[in-house]
Structures are given as C-alpha cells and as structure tokens.
Symmetry: D3
Subunit: 160 residues, 6 copies
C-alpha cells in the first residue's frame, strides 16, 4: 500500500494546504499529514492545536491521517513505511528551498521520492504567515482558511 | 483626485526609495509616503525619526505627504481614500513577495490597485539593510542616501 | 491629462489582458491599447483583426482607445504625448524581460514611466500562445478570452 | 489502477529523463511515456525513432509503456484513463513554464493531477538540446544518454 | 601563464561586454575574446565583422586577443591551452542557462574553470538583441555600444 | 602576485565550499579563506574553531591561507592587497544576494573584482545550515563535510 507523507508546520493550515491535501488524497492510498514540531521557531499554535485543526478540516477524507513528528523528516518517513513525500509549490521562491530539501532527502533516504503539486492559482499568494498577519490586525480571512481555523484565529487574537 | 500610497519601512530611506518617490510624484496627484510602524522587528530609527528624515528629503516635492501607519495596509489605504499603492521592484527576489502582497491586498481591498515601478539601475543593489551594514562599519555611503540621512546615520553609529 | 499606453502584441487579447485594461482604465484618465505591428514574427491575426477584437472587447470602457504602432515604442509614446506605459506581470519569467524593457525605455525616453500591474491570480497562467495552442487543437477556451475572440479563434482554425 | 503519463518530446531521451522514468515507475502502477508528435518544431529524430529508443532504454521496467500522441495532452490523458501527469523539474527556468502548463491542464482536465519530480542533481544540467549540440560537434556524450541513444546519435550525425 | 577565454556571439559587442572585457583583462594575464561562428542563427554581422569591431574597440588593451571559433567551446579552449572561461551575468534569466553551460563544460573539459563576473549595473539591461532592435528602428544607441559599433550599425541599417 | 579572497561564515565548512576552494586555488596564485567574525548571528562554532577546521581541511593546498575578518569586507580586501573576491553560486536564490553584494563592493572598492564559480552539481543542495540541521538530529553527514568537520559536529552535538 502506497503511503505518502505531507509534512509542514501548518501554523495554521490554510485553504491552500487543504487543496493540496484533497488532491493528494485522491492520488495516494493513504496520506499522512505530518506536523513538524520544531518547524518554525515561535509557532502561534501548539503542535497539538495544529494537529487538531487539520483533523477537523480533513474529517471528510477517510484516507487522511494527521500526525506530528520531531527530528529528521527522513527518519519519520522511514519509520512510517512511507515511500512518498508530498510538497506544494506556489512560487519560484519556494523552488530553490524545495529543490534543496528534495535533494537532501534523496541523500538521507534514497528510496523515498518527493513529489510536488502546484498550488491552485486561487491560493497562490496564501501562506500561514500572511494569514497570521492579517488575522492579527483584525482583517478578514474568510475563504482563506477552513472555518474552524478562522474561529481559532479569532479566539487566539482576542486572548492575545 | 487620485491619491497614491507608497508604503515601506524606510529604515532609513535610500536614494533608491527617493528615485521611486520622485517618479511616482510625477504620475499621481498626491503621494503619501507611509512609514510602517511595525515593519521590521528591530528598527534602527524610530518611526518619528524615519518620518522626519523622509520629510526633509522630499521637501522639494509639493504633492508628497509623509505619514506613518500601524495595522493592515489595506485598512490604512481605505482610510486615506487612496486608490493606488506604489511599490518599487529591484530584483527577482522582490518579485514573489510583492506578488503575494499585491494579490493579498486585492483580496482585502478589491478596489485598490498596486502598481510597481522598476528601480533605477543605478540603485538596483541598494537596500536599507545594506546601508545600515556599511554605515555600521564606518563605510562611505555618500551618494546612496540623502544627505540628511547620511548625517543621521553618522550620529547614530557614533552614539551606538 | 494623464495618458497611459498599454503596448503588446495581443495575438489575440486574453481575459488576462482585459483584466489589466479594466484596472488600468480605472487609474488613468485615458488609456491607449497599442497593438505592436511587428511584435511576434508570425502572428495568427493581422494587426487590423487584433485592433478590431480589442475594440469590441473594450467598448464598455469609454476612456480606452485602441491603436497600433510600428517602430520603437519610445517614439510612439512620445508622439501620443503619453507619460505612462502600463505592463502586466504574471510570473518571474516575465520579470527579467520587463526590467530590461523598462530600463531601456528609461534610456530612450527619460520622461516616460513604466508601471507594472500584477495579473489577477485567476489568469496567471494565461498567455496568447497557450490560447492559440489549445484552440488550434480544438480545446475549450471559454472563460479564457472575450466571447468575440473565442468566436474568431473558432473561425480561424476552421478555415486553417 | 493508477495510470500516470510522462509526456515530453524526448528528442532524444536522456539519462535525466530515464532517472525520472525509473523513479516514477516505482511510484505508479502503470506509467505511459507519451512522445509528443508535434513537440519541438524541427525534431532530430522522427516520432517512431524516439518511441523506439525509449522502448529499448526502458525494457527493464515492466510497468512502463511507450506511446506517442498528437493534439492536446489533456485529451490524450483522458482517453488513456490516466489520472496523473508526471513532469521533471530541473531548474527555475523550468518552473514558470511548468506552472503555466499545470494550471492550464487543471482548467482543461480538472480531474487530472500533475505531479513534479526533481531531477537528480547529477543530471541537473542535461537537456536534449545540449545533447544534440554536443553530439553534433562530435563531443563525448557517454553517461549522459542511454547506450542505444548514444549509438543512434553517432549514426545520425555521421549521415548528416 | 594563465589564459582566459571570453566566448560569445557579440553580434555586435556592447558596452556591457566591453566592461567585462576590461575588468577581466585586469585579472588574467592573457584574455582571448572568442567569437562563436555559429552562435545565433541569423547574425546581423559576419564573423569577420564581429571580430574586427571587437579588435577596434579593445585596441587599448594589450593583453586582449580577438579570435573566432567553430564547434564545441570545450575543444576550442583546450586547443588554446586556456584554463579559464569568463562569462558575464546580468540577470536571473541568464543564470539557469549559464549554470547549465558551466556544468556541461565541467563534464566535457574537467580541468577548465568557468568564472562569472556581474555586469556593471549601468549596463544591466543591455543585450545585443536590444541594440539591434533600437538601431533597426533608428533609435539612439550612443553610450550603449563602442563608437565604431555605433557607426557600423548606422551603415548596416542604411544599407538594409 | 594575484591574491584572491574567498569570504564566508563557514559555520562549518562543507564539501561544497571545499570544492570551490580547491578549484579557486588552481586559478589564483594565493587564496585567502576569510572567515567573517560577525557573519551569522548565532554561530555554532567560534571564529577560531571555524578557522581551525578549514586549516585542517585545506592543508594539502599550499597556496591557501586561512584568516578571519571583522568589519567591512571591502576594507579587509584592501588591507590584504587582494584584487579578487571569489564567491560560489549554487542556485537562483543565491543570485540576487550575490548581485547586490558584488555591486555594493564595486561601489566601496572599485578596483576589486568579484568572480563567481558555480558549485559542483554534486553539492548543489548543500549549505552549512542544512548540515547543522541534519547533524543536530543525529543524521548521517558523511561525504557532505570534510572528515574533521564531521567529527567536530559529532562532538558539538554530543556536548549540546
């Protein structure tokens, strides 16, 4: 059974991520969304919160599992018996970093393949950082993140 | 009356910025230079200092106003009744960020247009960070920043 | 009165071009769409056909004029008394060419400014070449070009 | 059964292509290498020759089929009942074109997904054009193309 | 003695090329400007004309030799006993092509090194094609090419 | 005597750096590896450790000297009587930064030339940060850094 891992910091998950998740779950038998614990220095949401938000937003996708990892992605992927890593590509500025990651991973885990999917043009400008910046200033993020994430962001910045 | 806003952190304003300001002030009826209060984590100059330096450097341009803002640029622009945002483009590394900003702004303020102007090739390598790095080590920045900024940088690093 | 020129080969005009035209006509008093006669070696549509198709597609925009030019853009722009050139930016691959054009124009016509607008993300992948390739193979281009252009392409390739 | 299509002009197939083919054939159940008949204006090898060379070079891969197509890739993919298109990414200059292709395909065939694989860094500089240029001047291409392609190029340029 | 080769089509040589030549001649003991006979399909100037124009424009540089070559650059460089290839980098769009060339050359001639120099920002937008386009339409190219090239272009387009 | 400086943070030196050092030492009479004291905010290795590791890794290269500097590179280069700065280029994301640095240096030290060498494709994905990340998680970095650096990283992270 072909298992794929979609790693990221997902702080928080956006509709751009969700678009990749939905499309990748149509390609691979089993898709693990792997929230990197240490990805990003100062996350807005805890690892547990990030996992929970993705679980809620992907509950309509039966072959999607949400998990988190610490340490090297190469080790995590091997441990899960996965053969595929999925990454979204939005723009050229992603490209060099992703090439570096894919080639490094090839060195650390030669049997694992990284496949890339282009982000839907509707979401091409979306990033978790921009979402946090807009939400932090009270801007409207409807349509940019799943509903539960929108609510979580509102709560987070009210308390903050 | 067509009002345009040229936002940035301007920490400090360079001759590259000034080139964009002069050219944009020839296109638009009224041009507001908007110093972002929170742009950049650890500014060298205070918001007030940055505003003052630009005022001094643009006093020959009657249709230029210097202001500062806090919060979302989309909100500030609407509040000022502006329809245009002006941004300079220097190099490819600016492009992706600027595309992301322009598309996000289109979502938050659909009636506002972002227009880009290419930086004069003479200033294509200039950035506020490079100016601060050179000045911080006592290097010569004559011709790279307005005279008043050169003096301010000298004072700042003498005191530092 | 601020006159702007939007030059291009428009072989044929797409909905991406139209989006730029509509937005630019909201910024500038008068906008001239200038079809380059020699732009592109082997055009599918004649200069007259290209002008006609844009006229039809922009007839709801009272401050838009459609014209064609031969020779240097710098000369044409001066002759029309225009101060602004408008260009759309889609992707990084456009950037270098557009930078080169803008800097060259600055040398040939120092008082003319080139301003860039980012293409709507919906049309970010659109180009006249791709439209012709799809239409040439009988693919569906509805929503990618104005209706009159869709009809013209159908006729063109039926005859071809 | 998940069928993937790897389209290209393959004029001729290189070891960079072969690396993508081998890795993609390990991911997907059935992989169709689809030689585009009209891809490239003035091919060195005929469609039949290109198909034959790939067949020879991939005969150790039981789940790989070699075919050719004419017309729109979107139509070919649908006709074959494939859900996936595989593309190799070498460098940033590939990126914009591939993004454009992937987004166009999404419009023409919404249920088909394009996935990208990064070329092995060993082959990152390889292209069919460079191979033809080197071989055309009698340069050594051992290790850059499969052995049968090397022989075919030698024959082709001896006759030329 | 360290010999360097600066290859190109130079159709015609521009002040951007000349800037690289002057700077490279200050670094290397002997610099050979190598005009590629087949570089560019349909050159405006013959190989002999291109060689002659560079000779004229570089006669103040005693360690510069002007030559032409046919065939593979790797073979030419070896034949001349050169160890270095010099290339100018203007913009990101040059980068991928130059990386490909440098890595290919490394494969064909492992002992030869390619070194790159950044074009002076004054000439960053200059290319031989743009010069020909401007001159072809009678535009002013003073300051963009050496004087003798300006004269040659005027003659060429008067006759044309 | 032509002296060249290869500046960097080298925290730590990788086999990609070493490849540039070996090739540059074959071009220039004397090559100074200059470890920037303040390059990088929070270095893993002290300046002294970084200098020591490079000395060990380059002891087979008689014309290579290892040194460190504080302050402006332009000042350091002048003080050493060097005329050349060597920089490695890996990917497009390096390009803009390097262009900016080279043009700034040209302004601060007009007689100094920056030359770039493309990183061997084998090491195109390597960076000191990635090495530290992999080593920090206990991953295998054999073949990516010199042996003494591998040992130093193992000790560093054991103590950490």
């Amino acid at each position: 059974m072909l298992i794929a891992v979609y790693p990221g910091s997902f702080d928080p998950v956006t509709n751009g991520h969700l678009d990749i998740i939905e499309r990748a779950s149509g390609i691979f038998k089993h898709l693990i969304i792997a929230v990197g614990k240490h990805a990003g220095k100062d996350p807005l949401f805890s690892t547990a919160e990030r996992v929970e938000m993705i679980k809620e937003a992907t509950k309509h996708l039966p072959n999607v599992e949400v998990d988190w990892f610490d340490g090297l992605l190469a080790d995590y992927v091997r441990e899960k018996g996965a053969k595929i890593i999925v990454r979204g590509l939005r723009a050229v500025s992603d490209f060099d970093y992703e090439l570096q990651m894919a080639l490094t991973l090839k060195k650390l885990a030669p049997t694992v393949e990284t496949v890339f999917m282009m982000t839907n043009s509707k979401y091409i400008y979306l990033s978790s950082s921009i979402i946090k910046e807009i939400a932090g200033y009270g801007g409207c993020i409807k349509g940019l993140v799943p509903d539960n994430v929108e609510a979580a962001l509102r709560r987070k910045f009210k308390r903050g």
